[in-house]
């Protein structure tokens, strides 16, 4: 269950991704400005948000080595998210959370990814390591690990394609179909995606090759490859099951194909 908070306070910035508005409240004007710049195009226009976080900033100590291990778990009914550069608590039912973090954009970016992945898991959706784009009213996902070609396929996109992201795609379930939504989570292109969404037509597993071709993928491989690319942070059996079932559902409703491609623009001629 989500709670809609009444009004965003003056110092809060609302970031809306996939139709989910999260208000971030900070008393530091320069940090607020940084958030507004980084998430430009995804700033909420609605006066209310689904969740609200108070951010408490600190300067990282040079004497304390950063711990990069990420931990995401439920503790006393609240989600606890922590890494070397942040520690956050979030109560989804109350619609509220606190973030104590280093004064850096990476910490808040990671917290937002985790929050969205947890929210999507309950709704049959997910965040996935994939570029995505809308063309002709349909969305396409291009999934792969680092080096598979997400940035390349994004760079090669024709002018009539709207790039939703070159790194982390947002997949939301809506009845018996899936929507791909733009995200501000950028990869090598360092460019936020278009804040748009469209019904998903296909997911392509990227593979660089000597010629352009689209090949069928068996159900098991499709699910396995999809699971490998879904962003999953929590060490929680219930969520593992939700993500597994979501991947299976997705594979049963959306065509998953292997896209073998050479890095030139003609690859987009076969994407339908």
């Amino acid at each position: 269950m989500t709670t809609t908070l009444p009004t965003i306070a003056k110092e809060a910035v609302s970031i809306e991704i996939g139709g989910m508005a999260i208000a971030l409240r900070t008393q530091n004007p320069s940090f607020r400005q940084m958030i507004e710049n980084r998430y430009a195009g995804f700033l909420g226009t609605s006066p209310s948000s689904h969740f609200e976080f108070d951010i408490d900033l600190y300067e990282p100590s040079e004497s304390t080595p950063a711990n990069d291990d990420l931990e995401v778990k439920i503790e006393e009914g609240e989600w606890l998210l922590q890494r070397g550069d942040f520690r956050a608590r979030w109560n989804p039912d109350a619609g509220h959370g606190q973030i104590r973090q280093a004064c850096s954009p990476y910490a808040i970016d990671c917290v937002l990814r985790i929050i969205h992945s947890l929210l999507l898991a309950r709704q049959g959706g997910f965040l996935v390591h994939a570029a995505s784009a809308i063309r002709g009213g349909n969305a396409f996902l291009f999934a792969g690990v680092s080096g598979a070609g997400k940035t390349t396929i994004s760079r090669l996109a024709p002018p009539d394609a709207k790039l939703l992201t070159d790194e982390i795609s947002y997949v939301r379930r809506e009845g018996n179909r899936y929507l791909a939504c733009g995200t501000p989570f950028a990869g090598e292109l360092a460019r936020v995606g278009e804040n748009q969404s469209a019904p998903l037509s296909a997911l392509f597993l990227l593979e660089k090759g000597l010629q352009n071709s689209i090949e069928p993928v068996g159900a098991v491989e499709a699910v396995q490859r999809l699971l490998r690319n879904i962003l999953f942070f929590a060490d929680d059996p219930e969520l593992v099951e939700l993500v597994f079932q979501s991947a299976c559902e997705f594979a049963s409703l959306v065509p998953i194909r292997r896209l073998v491609f050479v890095p030139d623009q003609r690859v987009w001629d076969i994407i339908r």
Partner: protein
């Protein structure tokens, strides 16, 4: 004579039949398995009450063209492997079934 084995699906798993193949994932460590037809039949019959030898004789040997002794050895190996990952529970006494049949999902 070997002691009888009873097998039951663990509750710490997620399973799904898709495209004719059974996929099983441990929710404890995210280990992913795919089961072939024979393994899938054993998996689905693992109700904790039916002895493994009876599953093999009454189901596997009836539905598949396999030698009974070979099928018993293969079934024992399969059950051992999945039990090591906590996906199947094995006992020399009848067990309560922990997980509903994946076909009912």
């Amino acid at each position: 004579m070997m002691a009888e084995k009873y097998v039951a699906r663990s509750s710490a798993i997620a399973a799904r039949l898709l495209g004719g193949e059974m996929m099983v994932m441990s929710t404890a460590d995210s280990t992913f398995f795919t089961l072939d037809e024979v393994a899938s039949a054993i998996w689905q019959a693992a109700d904790g009450r039916t002895p493994l030898s009876e599953i093999v004789a009454g189901k596997i040997c009836q539905e598949f063209d396999v030698d009974r002794e070979q099928a018993q050895r293969d079934a024992a190996r399969f059950v051992d492997e999945l039990s090591q990952h906590g996906i199947l529970l094995v006992s020399d006494q009848p067990l309560m079934e922990s997980s509903p049949s994946p076909e009912s999902r």
